[in-house]
């Protein structure tokens, strides 16, 4: 009899306890949940993320490109992105986002000049090997280094088939406002993503300002680059690696 009563009492107590528990937890969850939503950053400003609707690419015609053009491209890139005047680095330690390359065909002795920069591959080996996801490809095809995550292991530099990346070997000051760069991280041509996002063209393309270097959306059938690629012969450097580069060359 007693046991029955106590068990009934216990049941009552349990249900009261249960009630308190559930209300407290619900109230707590509700408060925390609203707190979380309040602190979630809501992007109201109207800019949307880039999508893979566009794919940015470049076509460099080595037949039309002169050595002076290439020097202009290199200078424009240095001016725009703020590299090239590292005081303490020597020789191969200096940054080299874009290089002038001169090749001679062994069979015909024909010499070609071209500008070599990050090829913005569709299957970038640098993105595959980066341990922290710092090396990344944007939806619109531009390959970048997220220097917030870069630990400076340089594995991407080992993996890059085009020797396109540079490591910052010293402390830097007076960086360009739109191009943060710092000691101990890896960097490369960004295809002037800060300009492209504003609807402009990369600095090297603007420096040449002729048909020798065409920049545009590879996916857009009306774009100049798309139409030119359909007309003239073009190739990727190290095409056998099947990386589907965004930068194409004709005349080599």
């Amino acid at each position: 009899m007693d046991k029955c009563q106590t068990s009934i009492q216990k049941n009552k107590n349990l249900s009261r306890r249960d009630f308190i528990k559930t209300t407290a937890t619900t109230a707590g969850v509700a408060t925390i949940a609203t707190g979380i939503t309040l602190t979630t950053y809501v992007n109201a400003a109207g800019e949307n993320p880039v999508t893979n609707e566009k794919r940015w690419g470049m076509l460099i015609d080595t037949n039309k490109l002169t050595e002076v053009d290439i020097d202009d491209m290199v200078n424009a890139c240095q001016e725009e992105q703020g590299w090239g005047n590292e005081a303490h680095s020597t020789g191969n330690q200096k940054a080299g986002w874009i290089k002038k390359v001169k090749v001679k065909d062994k069979a015909t002795d024909r010499i070609s000049n071209l500008a070599l920069m990050c090829q913005h591959c569709d299957q970038p080996p640098c993105v595959d090997v980066c341990p922290t996801n710092a090396s990344m490809k944007r939806e619109d095809g531009i390959v970048l280094v997220d220097r917030h995550l870069c630990i400076g292991c340089r594995y991407c530099m080992m993996a890059c088939p085009y020797d396109a990346r540079s490591f910052v070997h010293e402390a830097l000051t007076d960086q360009k406002e739109h191009m943060p760069r710092g000691k101990g991280t890896v960097e490369a041509c960004t295809m002037c993503v800060h300009k492209v996002d504003k609807g402009e063209k990369p600095a090297c393309v603007e420096a040449v300002d002729s048909d020798a270097v065409i920049f545009g959306d590879l996916h857009d059938p009306t774009s100049k680059i798309n139409q030119t690629l359909k007309r003239v012969q073009s190739t990727q450097i190290r095409a056998d690696l099947n990386l589907n580069t965004g930068v194409r060359y004709s005349g080599i």
Binding site: K94, G96, K100, K102, K106, D128, R154, T185, I252
Partner: protein, 400 residues
């Protein structure tokens, strides 16, 4: 074979403290080098945008590869049930962990941003073999730690075989992963070869055992404990087999590369006209690291002689460092073939120059010092070493 008694070392002699002081000096020098390189940036090193991994990485990878090989002895005892190696299992696990700690220390301290190690631990790209290696290295610490616990704790001894098998599998995957760091790189002629993965596994056998033999002989000599010939001769023969296996894999790797016309360039670079790299390959890796040790280990004149065994082990280690130097730095020095069939006149190409600096060397040596100081302290702290490894104690086939 009688019951093995394990005993901590005394660790109070003048010799012990001199050893600690000496190793400590190397570690301080390494830390100083790290501060120097980190504070100024890598421009003070010999590394550049063409040679991105230099001497520190040679030492780091050597230690990491040797670490997984040092666990072999414990594995042979637990997994393959060879009783004669059983007393050595604890020391084997310790040497493995110590070498790995030293190697990882060097690797992490050479990062451009070592302060971002937490980022490396939390942001993972599972496509990257490097990220997989980070998981494998951390897991190795855990598994070998558990394995040692199984061996120390008598109640757990019955589980040590199962954990031993797990540890053995894990270290095979780990060393395959380490070799794949290079084997997966399609961009460079010297690396694009799957055989690098098993080659690294075999290299780990040789380097790890060489280290283990030196640590074993030194610790028994310096604590004046008996170390019988039965064990030493077995280890000596095993070391010889591993060195021969490494030579075999190196031969297959190079012959394979020579067969492919597209890789002829890097082969003639390493084998013939690569200057320092050719010298290190032939004299360092093949002769000093392979042929001479084999002669010392098997020739009737020197077989059974412990000083010769010690010398052979040292040469194997030096040869291993030379081998990794040729692989890592030689592989980067040789330019990539950007335009097949064309000659590069300007802008890229040519053999990249690399001169190691003192800071890099001190960092690498500091890694070895860290490994050795860990071993020296831990054998004093815990009973890793059997009190006696004399033949009548250790040899299961000994006739009394």
């Amino acid at each position: 074979m009688s019951i093995i008694r394990y005993e901590q070392t005394q660790g109070k002699s003048l010799g012990f403290y001199t050893l600690i002081a000496g190793l400590g000096a190397f570690i301080l020098a390494a830390l100083g080098s790290v501060y120097f390189m980190e504070h100024n940036g890598h421009h003070v090193t010999g590394m550049s945008n063409r040679i991105v991994w230099g001497l520190p990485h040679v030492f780091a990878l050597f230690l990491i590869v040797a670490a997984s090989g040092a666990l072999n002895i414990a594995s042979i005892a637990s997994v393959f049930n060879k009783k004669i190696y059983k007393p050595l299992s604890r020391l084997s696990g310790l040497v493995a962990l110590a070498l790995l700690a030293g190697g990882l220390m060097v690797l992490v301290l050479d990062l451009g941003r070592p302060d971002r190690l937490i980022v490396a631990m939390t942001e993972y790209n599972f496509n990257s073999i490097f990220a997989w290696n980070i998981i494998l290295y951390n897991g190795f610490f855990v598994i070998v730690g558990v394995y040692l616990w199984m061996m120390f704790e008598r109640r757990m001894n019955k589980y040590s075989r199962k954990v031993g098998i797990a540890a053995f599998t894990w270290r095979l995957i780990l060393t395959t992963g380490t070799g794949s760091i290079f084997g997966f790189l399609v961009a460079r002629q010297a690396y694009d070869a799957v055989i690098m993965a098993p080659m690294f596994v075999i290299m780990s056998f040789a380097f790890g055992l060489a280290f283990f033999v030196l640590v074993l002989m030194a610790s028994y000599k310096w604590t004046q404990r008996p170390l019988g010939d039965a064990i030493v001769n077995r280890l000596s023969n095993l070391l010889g087999v591993f060195v021969a296996a490494v030579l075999y894999f190196v031969a297959v790797y190079h012959l394979g590369n020579l067969y492919l016309a597209e890789n002829a360039g890097v082969e003639s670079f390493i084998l013939m006209d690569g200057g320092i790299y050719t010298q290190l390959f032939w004299y360092g890796q093949i002769v000093l690291g392979g042929v001479v040790p084999l002669a010392l280990l098997y020739s009737p004149a020197t077989k059974g002689n412990r000083s010769m065994l010690g010398l052979a082990s040292v040469l194997i280690i030096l040869g291993g460092i030379a081998q990794l130097y040729v692989i890592i730095i030689g592989g980067q020095a040789y330019p990539m073939e950007l335009f097949p069939g064309k000659e590069m006149l300007e802008g890229y190409g040519g053999i990249a120059a690399y001169t190691p600096t003192l800071a890099e060397l001190m960092l690498g040596l500091g890694g070895i010092a860290v490994a050795l100081i860990a071993i020296a302290y831990l054998v004093k702290f815990l009973p890793f070493l059997p009190e006696s490894l004399a033949d009548d104690v250790a040899d299961p086939h000994h006739k009394n």
